[in-house]
Point group: C2
Chain length 231, copies 2
Amino acid sequence: MASNAAFAEVASLAGDPARAGMLHALMDGRALTATELARVAGITPQTASGHLARLTVGGLVAMEKQGRHRYHRLASPAVARMLESIMQVAAATPPRKKAFVGPRDLALRAARTCYDHLAGHLGVALADSLIANGQIELAADAGIVTDSGAALFDRLGIDLDAGSKRKSRMLCRPCLDWSERRPHLAGIVGGALCRHCFTAGWIKHIDGTRAVAITAKGQRNFGEIFGIGSA
Amino acid sequence: MASNAAFAEVASLAGDPARAGMLHALMDGRALTATELARVAGITPQTASGHLARLTVGGLVAMEKQGRHRYHRLASPAVARMLESIMQVAAATPPRKKAFVGPRDLALRAARTCYDHLAGHLGVALADSLIANGQIELAADAGIVTDSGAALFDRLGIDLDAGSKRKSRMLCRPCLDWSERRPHLAGIVGGALCRHCFTAGWIKHIDGTRAVAITAKGQRNFGEIFGIGSA
DNA sequence: CGGAGGCTTCGGCGAAGGCCGAAGCATCGC
DNA sequence: GCGATGCTTCGGCCTTCGCCGAAGCCTCCG
């Protein structure tokens, strides 16, 4: 089969530990330099350079140069979805060895970005709240925003129709959380909600990582609007 | 990061050409024996056996023994979704070499099963028809069945609520077709529609492959119900 | 019970590819 | 122009892993 070779190439690109680490770091949608990526992957810059070149020709990563810096980011949302789906399978696989959970991992588990939306304990709690209040409905494969949910987002000043061609009902997408093993909110709705949390100052990135911290203002609003207790 | 190793392992399992071929063959949801899989991958049975053992401990494939046969199938729908998403990225990657399209490939492009639903020209045409008639709505990430669509499926005797816990609105899922590069219908609805096409005798598998042929009865019904001309 | 068929394990070969040190290009700032 | 910085290319070492032939295990069937 012709397409088989391309399939194996893409999968094996993601299958190297060093490259996997870089892709993981790029999953929050930001663009990083080769040296930064080398550090997160635990390899030297020259090795990272080689990996990034392969990822670029493989169509997983896009690069743009700015002065003497070269910024790398995921090539498309489809790549992010692919990485998510691999993480789902990887999380479902029986833990072969009691994984050591460090402080850095704890922060990630509490709250993090997942390409363009929120994941971790916070992400799952938000999704739970929306479901419990009948504002969204999630199945294993897909989800919708109810009228009540649309009203909520409207009240928050979140415009769901921006990129969605004015569908009669807002569509969203569930994304299985690898740390919580329960679905959180992705897709157009998840992205819009995440952006709103940042612009409203409810959350902010910790250092330069995917982990996010909940601000005091965020604590208040998450409690009032979504009934989420102190994280 | 702890989960990184598991991620890379899963991806690299899918990243070997021989294993990719086997996974590809398993994507129609059926269970195959090691020897059959060895043939489709173009390797000897003993090599296939090693690959299958690794895929099994990696959680991608499940095995059950029946007498002296051992049937292998994808471990979960999540694995199938992962493979689909990798195919999407692989299809989007620029064709590095004019892929040779054989007759076998042509049959696959015309109509095939994709885990539990229909893909290829037929799958895309069905989705197009349902969209054009306002029976479903598809965005990039998710989709819904309209009241009109629910009525159609009801008329066909397709029970969408079987496994879906009676959601107020039926949910479905788009799946980007690697050959047509346009979405077709997956998820609960796609699966139910595909099963119906088989049980109603509209389509049947070609040999033992994922490719399907449209029967005369199918021709008639696809034309009358969905307005799809002769394939 | 003995042969046949399906499948796995073992051992060894060979190619692929990850890794780094050193050196070579670009770009920025002084 | 000159050094510093970010990044890439080159060369060589080394591990990993895919592959098959041969042999062994299990299950069915006559």
